[in-house]
Symmetry: none
DNA sequence: CAGTATACCATACATATGTATGGCGTGTCA
DNA sequence: TGACACGCCATACATATGTATGGTATACTG
């Protein structure tokens, strides 16, 4: 049996993984079929069978929506490093790219992930130090206690995110000597993404 | 309506979250019932309804296994324990392999590099936390002030390395509340490698 | 006291969902 | 050529699963 994946198989796997991240649970066979405009569930069945046989998927038989991505076929990806973000500049502008971090399979969705070179020590008690890279998955929302990258008044910072009510967002540093940023309406805050990894190079 | 959770409600939420982490997908109502030894599905229905009303859960109506934890009370992180090195075991024995950390090109010499799942907080002030992975380049020697992985008396630890003289090695934790380990002849210490990277997964 | 929230049980029902089966093509490889 | 992996369609079926309904009981609150 082959052990490599075809591009369609990768696409299926990608979709499943993406759904898990976005929704919190995997899609059903019919949802997958709908996404790829398959008219038959059996088509998806075939794919799933193949992916399981090759070890990239797992599932609980006779259970609904019980798919689980096991491996991710990772060619190596270079994700962009966003360096110093100057005030007033659009965050994702090309000028901000200060290089790329080769990160292989660490990242599930390379296209939706970027790295940020950390300045300052506001998250030091969460073990995020000056000079570390944080891997950030782009998303506009966050859950309580997520560590996020957010833009406030043209500045980009890494903080822990809390939304106490619809009207109040707290961005809390992990550093006893620093105070939380409390944002009230008008909410001029933009969550750029969630920190999904921390990487530090030592020498 | 109240907006706080009872301890049972927290327990339910906790279980759901835990299942998502462990399996990759949420439990069904009946799986939840089984876990808590409820004889009726309706019981779980009640809990889920309450949790949704209070904003801690979301779900897609009439869809199987479509629960999604929205907020988490008290911000707890479930960090999976992959493996531990038991005292007395050879460090590189196959039994100790508890999975693989795909790390692409982050590592200069893959063949000579391994990852270790960190237990304890002896290096917390160097930003290495419990649960982090350290990437270790195999080598038998180290320079002063390198962070190393060393074996002492059948235990493996991460420490900062100092050799003051040919007769005295100090292994210094980065934690004010812990004392340095001073090893004198006979030097039953083996430097397994140097820490060249730290990686932490968040979710 | 009535009203509401919590904490369970029991059962019937509709449907969402995985599974099985059989079909038709294409290509590749020995 | 045959065997096999891939890429799809169509349909029937069993069951896993959410939903609805209606109980019982305790505790708190105004």
């Amino acid at each position: 049996m082959k052990t490599t994946l075809t591009s369609k198989q990768v696409a299926l796997l990608d979709f499943i993984q993406e759904q898990v991240r976005a929704q919190g649970y995997p899609p059903t066979l019919r949802e997958i079929a709908a996404r790829f405009k398959f008219r038959a569930v059996g088509t998806v069945q075939g794919y799933v069978r193949a992916l399981i046989a090759k070890g990239f998927l797992a599932h609980e038989p006779e259970h609904a929506r019980a798919l689980c991505v096991r491996q991710y076929p990772g060619s190596r990806f270079h994700i962009p490093i966003l360096g110093q973000v100057a005030a007033g500049q659009p965050v994702f502008a090309p000028e901000n790219y200060s290089g790329s971090l080769p990160c292989g399979e660490l990242v599930a969705h390379p296209a939706a992930t970027f790295a940020l070179h950390v300045r300052g020590d506001s998250m030091i008690e969460a073990g995020i130090l000056e000079g570390d890279f944080v891997l950030v998955q782009k998303q506009a929302t966050a859950r309580n206690a997520d560590i996020v990258v957010a833009r406030i008044n043209n500045e980009v910072t890494v903080k822990r995110f809390f939304m106490d009510s619809a009207k109040c967002i707290r961005l809390v540093p992990e550093n006893k000597s620093m105070a939380a940023i409390i944002v009230e309406p008008p909410l001029d805050v933009e969550v750029l993404g969630k920190v999904v990894g921390v990487y530090r190079k030592l020498r």
